[in-house]
Symmetry: C2
Subunit: 335 residues, 2 copies
């Protein structure tokens, strides 16, 4: 049986893009046509060398999508360039206008209708016009704090509140992540960076809004807080030493309120020296449920996997911008 | 905003049908048009009296669907009459031919393509012909041992094996369930009933096949075993005393093998005196995941809830027989 394979262009070759490309290169049903990356040290190289898989020989890394398309039009573009919608908007426009479905790790794209309704509508309309599907996904946003909790509420008659905790021991993660959570900073410097807007987990607000909308919660307020987790002892990682009193990582909490009560809370703590990693989802309702993912959902590989797995979704779903939304719950709002 | 409500007929008024009707009666977007039940002590009664909710006054229980349809054609029939596909097949035909979507608790309907391919195709074709959707769902099959594990694999690059345990302390459940699991029998009588085919959890095989197909596992064998859990002490429930040495309940295990290795196992134990109820899902792959639902998913309310929640799904999904299937994983087989 020789079925035609799904043709993919990989757009963005940072750590997540590389991981996703590795997975895709090993899937029988997928053919990688091209790769795009702006970093000059990667342009012109062979993708096979970057991902360490020889199967896909002969795919030079292009410096933009137009160049990559010379090798053919893809069915799906797997896009992993940046976190903010405004930044990737022109890239998405180019992908969609080229008639290609898009799976993106852009955090703000997961559920942008509340935060950026104008851009959301533009993307949705453009996608419908070109008959393609746009999916924003990842492990968080995209799974632990939104689609998984919502899926779980499928067995609830009534949902009063949902609280989610994610604890990630950053000690075992790659250097950029340890730096990203602020390890070794002092608290003052940490708060300066928070104020500058360069700190905090992107997409937490989108996860919260996704839950609120899909659960039919009319929030009268959202509160978001980013604080440092201060190390209580000296901790050595592979890369550096975090001293007692220094910042070990980040505590980012988003809450949604109805009548002054916190009915939604998303509590994310990523820091060096966390005693254990876990994800915990508590649903208050009928029935109430408490779910724990022991050791947590490993961030990098889970994001690369859900991106790779969503290629099929992008091929089969109706045109438009979708929210990897579970259709079981009756209160969902149409875009 | 006065939107038209979804019109529902409730077909089957056993405990699950009653629970589901109660939920539906309280949903603003749903109007219960009629109810069907063959039990003579219920026919002619008012549904409101049976479900204890006065809102839906004036819905007499009909003895068959034809009679119920005099009150109008429903958008969705919520069907909870029996567990076996062969038995409900004529009922489903009548619902579908009447142009109504169907949400059913029939366990074998959850994923019947492997066990009953002919009937499956007939239902699917008839549903497509009449432009309606047929959904088989519930907590098990329908959630704990199939759709939830599959949803979780959405963050896995590779899945090698999935093992699921469900432990239910039957002491706190209603009398029919305690009887259904064989409490107070002796082991000999238990096995006689197993041989007579009147014992065991219905749908376990369907859950296993659903996982195998959706994960792309080509099983070379399925093994199913039903054994008694023997009580190690005297245990009193609300209804009777289970003596030490008597049957406390049931242990039903289904396994799927690839190259002689058990890559799928569904281990269900429901018995009086279980120390704790829980659901546990272990996924071996990359990444591996271990998930626990503390105290487990409560069976009756969860089934009624997922049936009620699936009314929306039945209204919006494409025509045909669907499997409440998660579209994230790339290996799924089309019907």
């Amino acid at each position: 049986m020789k079925e035609s394979r799904i043709k993919v262009i990989v757009y963005g070759l940072g750590p997540i893009g590389i991981s996703t490309a590795k997975i895709l290169a090993q899937r029988k049903g997928i053919e990688i046509l091209g790769a795009v990356e702006i970093a000059e040290d990667k342009v012109g190289k062979d993708l096979s060398d970057l991902i360490g898989i020889s199967k896909e020989k002969g795919i030079p890394v292009s410096k933009n999508l137009g160049e990559a398309k010379k090798y053919g039009t893809a069915d799906v573009v797997v896009h992993t360039t940046a976190s903010f919608l405004e930044k990737v908007f022109p890239q998405l426009e180019e992908v969609i206008s080229g008639g290609m479905n898009c799976v993106s790790s852009t955090e703000e794209l997961f559920f942008p209708i509340r935060g950026a309704p104008e851009m959301t509508r533009k993307i949705d309309e453009l996608a419908k016009k070109h008959g393609v599907t746009v999916v924003g996904t990842g492990v968080n946003p995209g799974f632990v704090m939104d689609t998984l909790p919502l899926f779980l509420t499928g067995v609830c008659e009534r949902v009063d509140e949902v609280h989610i905790q994610r604890r990630v021991d950053a000690s075992k993660r790659r250097l950029p992540l340890q730096q990203k959570v602020g390890a070794t900073l002092d608290a003052e410097e940490f708060y300066k960076r928070v104020e500058a807007g360069t700190f905090g987990h992107i997409g937490l607000r989108e996860s919260l809004q996704y839950l609120a909308v899909n659960l039919g919660f009319e929030l009268d307020g959202i509160e978001e807080k980013v604080d440092p987790v201060i190390s209580e002892k000296d901790i050595s990682t592979e890369y550096f030493l975090v001293r007692k009193g220094q910042v070990a990582g980040i505590k980012h909490i988003a809450r949604g309120f109805v009548n002054g009560k916190s009915v939604l809370s998303l509590d994310l703590r990523m820091y060096v020296g966390a005693e254990k990693s876990f994800d915990r989802i508590t649903i208050g309702g009928n029935p109430s449920l408490e779910i724990e993912i022991k050791k947590g959902t490993p961030g990098d590989i889970a994001t690369a996997s859900i991106l790779a797995n969503s290629v099929t979704l992008a091929m089969h779903a109706d045109p438009g911008l979708i929210n990897t939304k579970c259709p079981l719950w009756p209160h969902y709002e149409k875009l």
